[in-house]
Amino acid sequence: MADLVSHPDEVKVVSKRFGKSATNIDRYLELDGYKAVQKALGMQPDAIVNLVKDSGLRGRGGAGFNTGMKWSFVPKQSPKPKYILCNGDESEPGTCKDRLIFEHDPHSVIEGVVIAGIATGSHAGYIYIRGEYRYLLEIMQKAIKDAYARGFLGKNIFGSGYDFEVYWHGGAGAYEVGEESALMESLEGKRGIPRIRPPFPAVVGLWGGPTVINNAETLASVPHILLGGAEWFAKLGPPKNGGTRLFCLSGHLNRPGVYELPMGYNLKKMIYEVGGGISGGRKLKAVVPGGSSCPVLTADEIDVSMDFDSMMKAGTMLGSGGVVVVDETTCMVNFALRIMKFYQHESCGWCIPCREGTDWLKKTLTRFHHGGGVKKDIDNIQYLSENMLGRTFCPLGDAAAMPTISIVKKFRKEFEDHLEGKPCPFEKAGVTEPAAVLA
């Protein structure tokens, strides 16, 4: 099952209570649970916002926007009710960390939601968990029920006079719904089609009211920041990239698993020391550094600090923390194809560049990988991807384009090796029928 692993380099903040039965509310209380929210109840909302801003906490879902800053966009006065929405729709390929938070420390998410509520003047929060995570939804349902029973949620929480409701919400299978505006549409009972921005959710969100949407790991980090202080959290990582994060190591590694490491940890060290190096004693070929939406890195590019800013400088993204390691036996054309297949399937269909672009690219890459490719296809794949980039209604188009462009650029030779009807050099002999070459 979803076993826990560990490594001496880990700095356990969000994963502090993993494996300690913290789903039980009494255990959670023993382990400093619900102390942070009581502290927050005694603080000015602006003070909480500034604390989180100064901690350097940035969105752990992938976009990496400063959390405190996002909270500060919520207007003080609002004719419509304000909401907190926890994004537990974890569906980015390579990412399996929120799952562990929901499984081992659901109360920390509840507590983070309430603190966000106090900081922004909201009185209701929703915890949206993807449909496939049904067992985790049930754990959350129980946690919420237990918190209500103790008076930690509902009217007059902790006897403070502040009201705060928390509700669970289950999805039904859709990657795009992890995009914050599509998440709101889904929660409102509709197809997960994203909304135009501006207005941003913090100003116009759920049912028109100001809504703060944060990833589950982001919210789970908040109580620790309240208790440990902004300075402590900020110092764990490089400047402006404070804290630790859960990294999901997967692929051709000896020790795949979810590890909590300080922001700024070196990727090469992560792969070889924490992840135990490439399985089977093979050579590293490529790394997906933060979920499939990120440009891939070659084996020469992994000496990089895993924080938001350094990764952007390196031409990729920290993303969702999904580190997928690819060895030399993998065909990068097939890898690009599988990634495009995913985005084509998950494209919501609303806007032409993404709907048509992902489909066109999937068809081209399929034909190409099966030996039906011509030289101009290689440039065309890059051209089509670049025409999606920045031109779609939501970042899914970018997410499909960026890895594709990086693979074509960095592994062009592999594409060229598929030309002229040649069978894939990495495929086991006789597995696929070569497609007709289009002249």
């Binding site: 099952m1 979803a2 076993d3 009710p81 974890e90 569906s91 980015e92 390929p93 390579g94 990412t95 399996c96 929120d98 799952r99 993807r130 449909g131 496939e132 995570y133 049904r134 067992y135 409701e165 509700y167 919400h169 289950g170 999805g171 039904a172 299978g173 859709a174 990657y175 889904s186 929660l187 409102e188 009972g189 509709k190 197809r191 997960g192 049912w207 999901c248 190591l249 997967s250 692929g251 051709h252 795949p256 698993g257 979810v258 997906v288 499939s292 999904g322 997928v324 390691v325 690819v326 060895d327 993998t330 890898f335 599988r338 990634i339 995913f342 399937h345 998950e346 919501c348």
Partner: protein
């Protein structure tokens, strides 16, 4: 729950002028009433309700769609429109156990595609197929959030991870016994 007659979806719209009223389990009804109090609009309960209804009935039949639409003041078209977006929802009957094998990147790198092919051969069905005895359905799915324990699959809601072909066979045998 009433017995369903097999009526093609589009023909149903034209031919039938009556529906069987649906009553779900007590647990469903209690949860449904509770959920309605959680949101400012009735419609907001739609997506989780559809999945819970599907869990009970096996699929989203025309009667289920009609019932839910009625309860939420929506047209059946609007409900069908929403259903078609979400990959876990189905309007066709499925096997008792839906075997969902992930072939996305982390699982693909650790044999997910071979695992899927093995299931196709062993069960004798393809993607979205159902065995003739109605025990198993098979689906190739996208990332289920088990990347660090790949290759992985779900059977209904149960996770099965760190799979090999042999382990998969044992898993299927366990379900078949039930």
């Amino acid at each position: 729950m009433q017995a369903q007659t097999k009526i093609p979806r589009f023909a149903r719209n034209d031919n039938r002028c009556y529906y069987h009223a649906m009553k779900f389990s007590d647990q469903f009804e209690a949860r449904f009433s509770d959920m309605l109090t959680h949101y400012p609009t009735k419609r907001s309960v739609l997506v989780p309700t559809l999945l819970y209804a599907q869990d009970e009935v096996g699929y989203l039949s025309p009667d289920v769609i009609h019932e839910i639409a009625q309860r939420l003041d929506l047209t059946e078209l609007e409900v069908s429109n929403v259903i078609s977006y979400y990959s876990m929802l189905t309007t066709k009957p499925r096997g008792k156990f839906n075997v969902q094998v992930c072939t996305n990147i982390a699982c693909m790198l650790r044999g997910g595609e071979e695992l899927l092919d093995h299931c196709k051969t062993k069960l004798g069905i393809g993607h979205k197929g159902t065995t003739p005895d109605g025990t198993f359905s098979l689906e190739e799915v996208e990332c289920i959030g088990a990347c660090s324990w790949a290759p992985a699959a779900q059977v209904n809601y149960d996770f099965h991870e760190n799979l090999t072909v042999e382990k998969m066979d044992k898993v299927l045998d366990e379900y078949r016994k039930n």
